[in-house]
Symmetry: C2
Subunit: 220 residues, 2 copies
DNA sequence: TTGGACAGACCATGCGTTCTGTTTTACGAT
DNA sequence: ATCGTAAAACAGAACGCATGGTCTGTCCAA
């Protein structure tokens, strides 16, 4: 497993990052599978396979755990810090497809995933937790700004709603978020897909994809 | 069931109903203000001003509390059992107004209320609680059916989406649900109102109000 | 006298936090 | 190169406390 034969200056940072990552992954899995109220420190520790000391060393309080988890969940969509993952999420497939296709992609690959559901658990929990809310609000604002800026490279509003572009995408995201609590109780899972499709067709006239000029988002 | 002629034979049933109501109200308030994970039995008991014995007598387990609270929250929108409250919720004001107005009404008076937020807390919590989920799913299905049936008296889909009427309203409800987790973190609260308005204007061409013929919903 | 409505004490369990150790790494002085 | 030492990384026990559930007891109407 030894990485560098000559120098391994990052063997410890790597190990540290791995421990942190294992913990955060366990938090995400727990949030998704048992929800916020059952996402206890004991459960996370056991699932991550780390000791209590390691956990409290990296995250002194439960609030820290949730804040850092949220930051990790928000990171892929944020700025071009990690172009690889961003490409998977917002930079759509080579053929961009219509808006309904794009929304289906967003729902199945981004929103309705372990990470997406975990994010929702934190958002809902933070609504009634002032301390947590205060700590995550700046990150959420920055996330919104980044999302709007990135998505503006790919879509544009119709002439009728020129100045309401970000509002249109906020509506899309709200719809997707609400789908979370709907999907769990729908008789026929196919209905969710149909809802996304119909919603996409309704929104399509107001939100058209940009001509695929060469990409300014990738370069810098 | 009429009141007693002389004495008060229903003084006890009234007292019982009052105790139950005080408990459920306390649950709703707690869910709204501190969320599901902090909605403990002790808190509810203290807020309702009842003893522990009374609480466990009416609701043997915490799961029972949540199930009964959900049923209470769903009751007003369901069948014509209580036409008074239904009138406030779905039977819009004498002048029905446009769809954006109707959605604003729904958001401000139904969804974004103590009861609406409490309902969301239960829905989110039940997603990861199989026992709770199993007990509330039938009620949620019936609620959906009742809602669709009642709203069909007031609106109709455009010709293009004739058979997708209930799907259209499901989209509306999903959007509203998602607004919950958006409203808590929006910089400018006015944006929520703008989102509802724009969404209403986008949906309006596909969901037109029916001509106000005399009402079949009132008479059974 | 019975059973429903309520009152309040009691209990085992799991919670989040804090604390004291032990191992590993980093790094400047030698 | 080697050593010494401080800090980081990790391990695990212990603590105080709130939780949900249970259990016995009291009141009152039927």
């Amino acid at each position: 497993m030894g990485a560098g034969t000559k120098d391994q200056p990052n063997v410890t940072p790597r190990r540290v990052a791995q421990t942190r990552s294992r913990i955060l992954e366990a938090v995400i899995t727990s949030l998704d599978e048992v929800g916020y109220s059952e996402c206890s420190i004991n459960r996370v520790q056991q699932l991550a396979g780390v000791s209590r000391g390691a956990l409290t060393h990296h995250f002194p309080s439960k609030e820290d755990i949730m804040v850092q988890t949220l930051l990790q969940l928000l990171a892929p969509v944020r700025g071009p810090a990690s172009p690889t993952e961003e490409a998977q999420l917002l930079q759509p497939t080579p053929e961009m497809g219509t808006l309904p296709d794009q929304l289906q992609h967003l729902w199945h690959r981004v929103i309705n995933t372990r990470e997406g559901r975990a994010l929702m658990e934190i958002l809902v929990a933070a609504r009634t937790d002032p301390a947590l809310s205060a700590r995550i609000t700046p990150a959420l604002w920055a996330y919104n700004d980044d999302f709007n800026r990135n998505i503006a490279h790919l879509y544009q509003a119709s002439a009728a709603h020129a100045k309401e572009f970000s509002l249109l995408w906020s509506i899309c995201r709200s719809f997707m978020r609400g789908l979370h609590s709907q999907a769990a109780y729908e008789r026929d899972p196919e209905i969710i897909t149909k809802m996304v499709d119909l919603f996409g067709r309704i929104m399509a006239p107001h939100l058209s994809p940009r001509a695929p000029a060469e990409g300014p988002p990738a370069a810098p």
